[in-house]
Symmetry: C3
Subunit: 258 residues, 3 copies
């Protein structure tokens, strides 16, 4: 249905694995390497050349790598020089600029805008319309919700770029802004509509404009169940590697994620 | 000018009414039903298959219905399983996920992102870049402005989905966020940049982070005219069915909208 | 690489300067005039017809002008009736509605949404996903950051349109909202996540929800250098015309920008 081979352009210098499907009107440029069993839907651009392409007559495209078992939804643009591990999923109209490193099993929602020169670990889930500035560093299992912005220029405009760091298992709720160079610990929860202006320690709920420390996440009860919900890996395992094992047991065997 | 029949793909199983125009580079997939006098502009995707398409070899596309006299602007994606009544208008690059029900005479602005499994009544106007989570229920004549997010997960991440309900004639101003499961009454006005954390009664202006009840909307004077502006249907009738009749008279004859 | 002349449509009534490159799947409609050395990347729409096109059988496209040395990145839509001076740069998926006037050397970031009937001077830089309502007037060297909204309807919904005015060298940081008809002076800095509800005088830092006057921008020290950073033209000259000359000396010779 979506793969009729109409108006598809694939560079001769691209290398596609086994069972790769490419949607109509999609373009795959020079030096793109795609793993096995990847689906790239319609109207995508993979290996988009960087700015230098327009001015440098000796320009050559850096390698773009997309790991196996990935699904890139329609109208997504991924620049040359990105490295994306296996089991990657996107929504529609995602933009990922050059030199972005993405771990395995990540998901990036519709309209999200990754400005490049940034990195994230494994199992990060970005919802729709998340904006990550250059220099951002996300740990593993970081979840970010719509319209969140991670900034990087402390005194705009300047030539300083200080990205935001977010620790493992932390979450940033909708419409929040994090100021440049802020360090957010692990297992943190940033409430909706917050402006984060200082570093946040591990296991803290903070919220507000400016965001203040509210309490430990271990004190947050679910309004639905009345039970303690955080740290969330004890109460959520859909798509998570500790499913059927339990978080503690899994973590013991996977200490790199601690 | 926009309808040159270049690179258009229409499934043999789609049913198009009379005088339907389809723009260049647009795709209409299986089981799409389109009413009379509809214009679907260039680079659109109508009847986009759901996630199951990629994994289920027996997948078949649910019906997508778009009512008569609609205008879908370019680069819009509408998933299979949506039902949209007549006189529907979109801006550009709108994304509407599966199982969205939209009443008649609705307008959805550029870049808006409807996450599916949600519904809205008649005459809802969403401006640019509105994000509606799954489970959202909008009444009739609900107006929502840019960068508003209606959320649905009370303790992210979880498997609970509690959408926001918005009553008839209510409005949510720019950049506001509404927390999961909140009920907003009818004729409410939510001020710009607000975070709505509790239910809002009918005819109330609320604003702030967190949003507080400020006053009744009937106490808001227009800075321009010095006159009371709300309930707005008494002072605004462009494109509204009470034009030339008066709101009270019209409502008497159309009690379903009360 | 990006210019293979595949599925390109250029109206016979468009006039292209020397050395204009047009990307694949791009459409250039009637009455578009493009200067020399312009690159329009893939999947763009230039000279998009206005709403009247769909209803008026006598419709003719107003002139769209794009100045020399411009670079329009992919998936950008520019409506008929826009006038854009030389050295214009866009990101991806920018939408510019009709009757937008843009001075020279401006940059508009990915996903930005200019609603038309608005104007900006020279050297304005809009980052990603900026929303400018109709009636907006930006001076010269105005910098606006992601998810900022400049509004225009004081009592929504109404038929009143009062755009925001922003003075030369002013900046509006991420996720801020400016209410309708507000006048922001020159060399102003609006902090992140602010709601601007009243006029702001020259050289003021304001921030918060609602935004309050914090101090003079001349009192803001860079956390990095410990030095005074504002007015920023004394400390930033990348891409600026005073580079190598000094701001004061340049301004003396270019009093229109004062």
């Amino acid at each position: 249905m979506k793969f009729n081979n109409v108006n598809v352009f694939i560079s001769k210098n691209a290398r596609l694995g086994k069972n790769v499907k490419v949607g109509d009107n999609t373009v795959i440029y020079e030096n793109v390497v795609i793993g096995d069993d990847v689906t790239i839907s319609n109207n995508c651009v993979i290996g988009e050349p960087t700015s230098e392409y327009y001015s440098d007559s000796c320009y050559s495209n850096k390698q773009t790598f997309i790991g196996s078992n990935s699904l890139i939804r329609s109208h997504t643009i991924i620049y040359a020089g990105c490295t994306i591990e296996e089991d990657f999923f996107t929504g529609h109209r995602v933009t990922i600029r050059e030199n972005t490193k993405i771990g395995k099993k990540c998901r990036i929602g519709t309209l999200s805008d990754l400005q490049g020169h940034l990195e994230m670990g494994d199992y990060c889930w970005l919802h729709s319309n998340v904006h990550l500035g250059q220099g951002t560093k996300l740990g593993h299992f970081v979840f970010i919700y719509p319209f969140v912005v991670l900034t990087n220029d402390p005194t705009p405009p300047s030539n300083i770029c200080k990205g935001v760091n977010v620790g493992n298992f932390s979450q940033i709720a909708v419409n929040s802004t994090v100021l440049p160079g802020i360090n957010i610990g692990k297992h943190v929860l940033i409430g909706a509509n917050s402006l984060v202006v200082k570093n946040i320690k591990d296991y803290i709920l903070c919220a507000g404009n400016p965001a203040k420390e509210i309490k430990k996440v271990t004190e947050i009860k679910s309004r639905e169940s009345g039970k303690i919900h955080y740290p969330w890996p004890y109460n959520f395992d859909r798509g998570m590697p500790w499913k059927g094992i339990g978080f503690d047991e899994w973590l013991k065997n996977n200490p790199k994620y601690d």
